[in-house]
């Protein structure tokens, strides 16, 4: 018995949540290989879509869901040098705010750029969908457009 004085405790909570009339279609879209935004009261396209208008608090009509992307622009980013088991990728990557084509707001997501030198604010990225998808935000990852 190695006498390393470290102890590890794990606590796990499984939750199941209903998704509602907007996030449900958004994740259904991801599973089906499409990214959806929603039209706000003032006509902007919000990505990710929300059930409520951020300015007025009014409910947004799911009929206003519109496809966006798959390409977009990196607005800002942070490089993750040492991913943990909880990160979407097992190797170094960027968390970035990506404003998808057709969208007026940015989606925070992972960019699989290979190296920090490949990252730049203003760069073009595009959605790359995983082969096996479950209707989850990690069904997609972004890659530099020239590598797509």
């Amino acid at each position: 018995m190695a006498d390393i004085p470290i102890t590890t405790h794990v606590i796990e909570f499984p939750y199941t949540r209903t998704l509602g009339p907007v996030i449900g279609p958004f994740l259904t879209g991801l599973r089906d290989g499409q990214i959806l935004g929603i039209r706000s009261v003032d006509g902007r396209v919000l990505v990710p879509p929300t059930e409520w208008d951020p300015e007025t608090g009014m409910p947004l009509d799911p009929a206003g869901l519109v496809p966006v992307g798959p390409g977009g622009v990196v607005e800002t980013w942070a490089w993750v040098t040492r991913p943990t088991a909880k990160h979407p990728l097992a190797h170094p990557f960027a968390f970035a705010l990506v404003r998808l084509d057709g969208a007026d707001t940015a989606l925070m997501h992972a960019v699989d750029a290979g190296s920090i030198e490949s990252m730049a604010t203003g760069m073009r990225v595009t959605a790359k969908f995983r082969d096996e998808r479950h209707g989850h935000i990690t069904d997609v990852v972004f890659v530099p457009e020239e590598r797509a």
């Binding site: 018995m1 006498d3 004085p5 470290i6 102890t7 590890t8 405790h9 794990v10 606590i11 796990e12 909570f13 499984p14 939750y15 199941t16 949540r17 209903t18 998704l19 996030i23 449900g24 279609p25 994740l27 259904t28 599973r31 089906d32 088991a85 909880k86 479950h134 209707g135 989850h136 990690t138």
Partner: protein
């Protein structure tokens, strides 16, 4: 905290309406010297506690301070505790088959006040007794795991694990019950 699906949200023909969130928290901590000493003693079949000379309270596992008298406790305050005592309180749990629940039948978790210097162990398993026969005041003794099966892996600085890795549970000794009046101030 992470949120990851444990199963596919739905099959590919149906809209996605539910989401599984799997929250997983992992704590890693360096075990402090006094708790290591407690853990090593437990492997040798001894329960160590710390007694506060001012308040007279006994802490098991030792915690290096007494929050009642506001004083530090050290090696000098270590005391070997008895491995028998009295049930001062208990809860009967009817298990719901939630994730991770391994029990299927009602079971008891009891507070055991140790004899001699004292020391209170909470959430202890009571063995060899139908749950409806458990009562406050019942005298019990520790059922130690064989030395080769004991483990201190779960023992941390916040009493998690406690005696679980060395003591399987407690069984009635058959001795007369202890009147509740004798431990009314120690019912947790």
């Amino acid at each position: 905290m992470s949120e990851q699906p444990v199963v596919a949200a739905s099959d590919s023909e149906q809209p996605v309406v539910m989401m599984d969130y799997f929250m997983h928290l992992e704590y890693r901590e360096v075990v402090c010297p006094i708790v290591r000493r407690y853990a090593d003693a437990l492997m040798d079949g001894k329960i160590l506690g710390q007694i506060s000379p001012t308040s007279g309270l006994v802490y098991v596992p030792p915690r290096s301070y007494c929050p009642v008298s506001c004083e530090w406790l050290g090696e000098d305050h270590l005391v070997e505790l008895e491995d028998h005592g009295v049930v001062t309180n208990f809860t009967i749990v009817t298990p719901v088959q939630y994730y991770g629940q391994e029990e299927t039948e009602p079971f008891a978790k009891a507070s055991v006040l140790l004899d001699g210097p004292g020391g209170m162990l909470g959430l202890q398993d009571i063995l060899d007794l139908p749950v409806d026969e458990l009562r406050v005041g019942m005298r019990v003794e520790a059922v130690w795991l064989p030395p080769e099966e004991r483990t201190k892996d779960e023992i941390g600085n916040r009493s998690w694990g406690s005696v679980d890795g060395a003591i399987r549970g407690w069984r009635p000794t058959g001795e007369p019950d202890v009147p509740a009046e004798q431990f009314l101030d120690k019912v947790y």
